[in-house]
Amino acid sequence: MKITDILIKLIPFIPRTLLMAGASLGLGLVFGSLLAAMKLSRFVVLKKIAEIFTTFVRCTPTMVLLFLCYYGLPLLFAHIGIDISGGSKTGFSITALTIFASGILSEIIRPAYLSVPKGQLEAAMTVGLTKFQAMTHIIIPQTIFVALPNIGNMAISLVQESSLAYLIGVIDVMGQAKVINSISSGLHIIPIYFAVSIICWLISLAIGRGIDVWTFRAGKVLR
């Protein structure tokens, strides 16, 4: 089997890989920002909870998170009477990846937010903006700009970590590769995984390039 044949067979499954990476990036940004806000808040309780959560997540292999979600969450929910054991495997994988992403993103967003000069907020207040307006129009855009390269790295990481989803049976690029491998009785295992690596590599390069372009364009404004 030539590599091009394999690639053609795998391409239809790229959307699922991208779905997992994209959804967990989006949700991870939401929860990561929440965690960052908790760490910056005045309430020590919130701070501690966020810090402990982050430590737990940063010290856990993604695979362990994945399996804990897949086997553990149904158990947890069963206790309060909800049956999620029939839930979509992709959904479990996105849950695990989101937990993974929010831990790391909170430590990206927090220093990025702190690096925006305090004077920006003060100036915004003196021209009559409320704190909310100041955050939305001035502070958060600048935070995103500073965090962008690391968020890009996170996106690339998520694409790669999502390849572990095959372990719970998700048929994305990696999952399909396993299927093809077992169909061909393991004879073409090297070209198969080579094809997977090419696909992932190209996706990573594309994301990296996209972030570079975005940073460059925004950089003309902000730095």
Partner: protein, 252 residues
């Protein structure tokens, strides 16, 4: 007329403001002088609610605003009638020059877009920065940024504009341009309270000079009086350090 009464502020054990009183009439240009640590900047920031004063009143039109426990609504009203020019300009890095001026009007003061734009253009012309309206702050020199900062405060049509050492962060050759803008502004009759070390500006444009030291007002009066013949020893010492000629004018 605005009266500031008994403004106090301590940072931990350090009592920076020990009870400042000041009267401000419409059109006044008050220059506050003093050594580092005298509390000048803190005074300004407390009046603008950028720092929370421990005590103090802002009395105007018979109404008293207590600086140490102002309600959110009172703070908003205060912000509506004041403008602030920062030592390090603090222009919004992610907005163009024009947007910097308009954003306070359109979002903060709920002014319609067209009116905001025309006011912004007028203010930019006033400070001589109109051709840079579409530029971003990071392409401007310090002096240019500060002029935009001044325009940003002016465009709000405030009752009083506070200037916190507006030229201290500038390269020497850019200071003059900003001071000229400020002098023009003073001539238009805007009420200005300026903390600065630029004695020439005080001489030319101030209607009153206030000397602060150690958290209190030591002396105040007309520029020609204070700068030429200060009554207090502390004032004399301070001025002698920054005006060489003062040192020889002891016994006139």
């Amino acid at each position: 007329m605005i009266q500031f009464r008994n403004v106090k502020k301590a940072f931990g054990d350090n009592e920076v403001l020990k009870g400042i009183n000041m009267d401000v009439n419409k059109g006044d240009v008050i220059v506050i002088l003093g050594p580092s640590g005298s509390g000048k900047t803190t005074f300004l920031r407390c009046l603008c609610m950028l720092d929370k004063a421990d005590d103090g009143q802002w009395i105007e039109n018979g109404k008293t605003l207590h600086l140490h426990n102002a309600s959110r609504q009172e703070v908003r009203e205060l912000r509506q009638k004041t403008g602030f020019v920062f030592q390090n300009y603090n222009l919004f890095a992610n907005k163009t020059v024009l947007e910097n001026l308009m954003i306070g009007l359109t979002i903060g003061h709920k002014v319609p877009q067209d009116e905001a734009r025309s006011r912004a253009i007028k203010a930019l012309a006033q400070v001589g920065m109109l051709e840079k309206a579409g530029a971003y702050p990071n392409s401007l020199s310090g002096g240019q940024q500060q002029r935009v900062g001044i325009a940003r405060a002016v465009v709000l049509n405030p009752e009083v504009i506070f200037f916190d050492e507006p030229t201290s962060a500038l390269d020497p050759e850019l200071v003059g341009g900003v001071l000229d803008v400020m002098k023009d502004l003073a001539r238009t009759g805007i009420t200005m309270i300026v903390v600065t070390h630029e004695i020439a500006f005080a001489k030319e444009a101030a209607s009153r000079v206030v000397f602060m030291d150690g958290g209190v007002v030591v002396e105040e009066g007309l520029p020609k009086d204070i700068l030429a013949a200060p009554k207090e020893e502390r004032t004399r010492k301070f001025l002698a350090r920054i005006i060489p000629e003062m040192a020889t004018e002891y016994y006139i």
